[in-house]
Point group: C2
């Protein structure tokens, strides 16, 4: 179990590096990575401001990348790592893509779409059920978000970007 | 009110034409169109099989198009027309993009993410609330889906694509 958690933490580092890239670009710092059979096949960070597209969350970009990598919309056997609990949109996409496992760092009790506020990943009415594991590198994932929103609150521009979490 | 409904029906025709294009391409026949100030600024059809991407629903592509058209992820003042009730992913994207009104043709009581099964558009915990109007050109929107799934059931390939509705 410890070995498995170490493996998850190691892979979450890849997602965290992506989140750092988001922060450097002035984006809400969320990063994602997708692994298949131990190999990294997709990594992305939130780019809603850069691409001026509310759908450009880290998970959505990573899912599209992973599908392109395998040439199939079915992401069987893949594990998605993301620094923050997916929102409703991303949780819906994860289920549609049939990803079997999602691992995230910090949960979003107010708006989390995967398990906290909406239980999309385990809904019995949808086509697929996705397992999840939470709290991997939680402190580091949360610290990035806290620093970002603290800096935002002290800046004059106050409009909250899509996917903004209250952490 | 009749004039307003006529206007919605007229615009839904654009979404229906997109749904027909999806059907012709062997995709689940769902089409979407986005209007702003009376002008068509985005139109798209479901392309999950063509693009091999579970996130390539009509609404998602149209939202990205509309954002590109106005150079902003905030789709204030826009109306999204879609032939079928949005799924969870698309409903989440609609709220993130702050679209004020969604009009759809046929509801999806089993898996609808907007209002039927999940009430994402009017959730009090999310950042934005989206109004909706249903049943516009419902019979035509439903007929396209029924014909598609009837043909699918009589074909040997049975794997259901992402976003497949039971209508």
């Amino acid at each position: 179990m410890t070995d498995e958690l170490d493996l998850h933490a190691l892979r979450m580092r890849t997602a965290l590096r992506q989140a750092l890239r988001a922060a450097e670009a002035g984006e809400v710092p969320v990063g994602a990575a997708i692994f298949k059979d131990g190999h990294l096949i997709a990594q992305a960070h939130n780019q809603t401001e850069t691409l001026k597209d509310a759908t450009a969350h880290a998970e959505m970009i990573a899912i599209t990348q992973a599908a392109a990598a395998v040439g199939d919309w079915r992401l069987d056997g893949m594990v998605l790592y993301v620094t923050k609990e997916p929102c409703v949109m991303c949780a819906g996409a994860i289920v549609l893509a049939r990803i079997p496992l999602v691992v995230w760092g910090v949960s979003d009790p107010l708006r989390g779409g995967a398990a906290s506020r909406f239980q999309i990943l385990q809904s019995e009415t949808l086509n697929h059920r996705t397992d999840y594991l939470t709290g991997v590198l939680e402190a580091e994932c949360a610290a990035l978000l806290k620093d970002f929103f603290k800096a935002r609150r002290s800046s004059p521009e106050a409009d909250s970007p899509p996917g903004a979490a209250v952490v």
